[in-house]
């Protein structure tokens, strides 16, 4: 549905705004996860076909009529794995943030002066 596509794009833009404008590392990670959600919404909404139902065959959808009644299963499969990867990446980033806080005692990226040119 187009509405959900637009919603996904708005979420992506908000997330990028958060990542760029905030200086706290945890807030940047939250922005990243918002972008993640937005991208997943866009991908699933592109696979949606009007008035169709989930690609799981049971009493409601028979084998014969499946071709005319189900949505695209490929984006679903893609997004499903992407969500799990998103969790792994988020956990890894948080581990970095914890380590960084242990070394520097601060979560603000302005306090990390060594890498600035």
């Amino acid at each position: 549905m187009t509405l959900i596509t637009i919603l996904g794009f708005i979420l992506i833009v908000i997330g990028i705004w958060g990542m760029l404008s905030q200086s706290n590392i945890i807030k940047i990670i939250i922005g990243f996860s918002i972008v993640d959600t937005g991208i997943h919404l866009v991908m699933v909404s592109i696979g949606y076909l009007k008035d169709r139902t989930a690609p799981i065959l049971d009493e409601a959808v028979g084998k014969a009529e499946a071709l005319a009644r189900v949505v695209d299963p490929v984006p679903s499969a893609l997004v499903l794995t992407a969500i799990v990867i998103g969790l792994a990446v988020t956990a890894l980033m948080l581990a970095y943030a914890v380590k960084l806080h242990e070394m520097k005692g601060s979560l603000d990226i302005h306090d990390l002066k060594e890498l600035k040119w």
Partner: protein, 86 residues
């Protein structure tokens, strides 16, 4: 007639979700937001069951079940964080 009643019920459920979200916005403090999130999850479980009936697919109910278990774990984690027991 019957369908209109169901639709009205779902709309009232959405209104409840919105009201809980207002509490989420005004807070004050994280603890109140956790309470609001708890209420929002419970309302969402109802809405998922409604969507399952609306689309006529009984298999969607599994998601409501996952929600009722996972939201419990999440709220307990937040509570333990607040009382410094994590």
């Amino acid at each position: 007639m019957v369908n209109t009643l169901y639709t009205i019920a779902a709309m009232i459920g959405l209104a409840a979700l919105l009201l809980a979200f207002v509490r989420m916005i005004i807070g004050p403090g994280a603890a109140n937001r956790v309470v609001a999130l708890d209420v929002m999850t419970i309302v969402s479980i109802s809405l998922i069951v409604f969507l399952s009936a609306h689309f006529g697919r009984g298999i969607y109910l599994d998601i409501a079940l996952v929600y009722s278990l996972i939201s419990f774990v999440g709220v307990v984690a937040m509570a333990r964080y607040l009382e410094r027991g994590l």
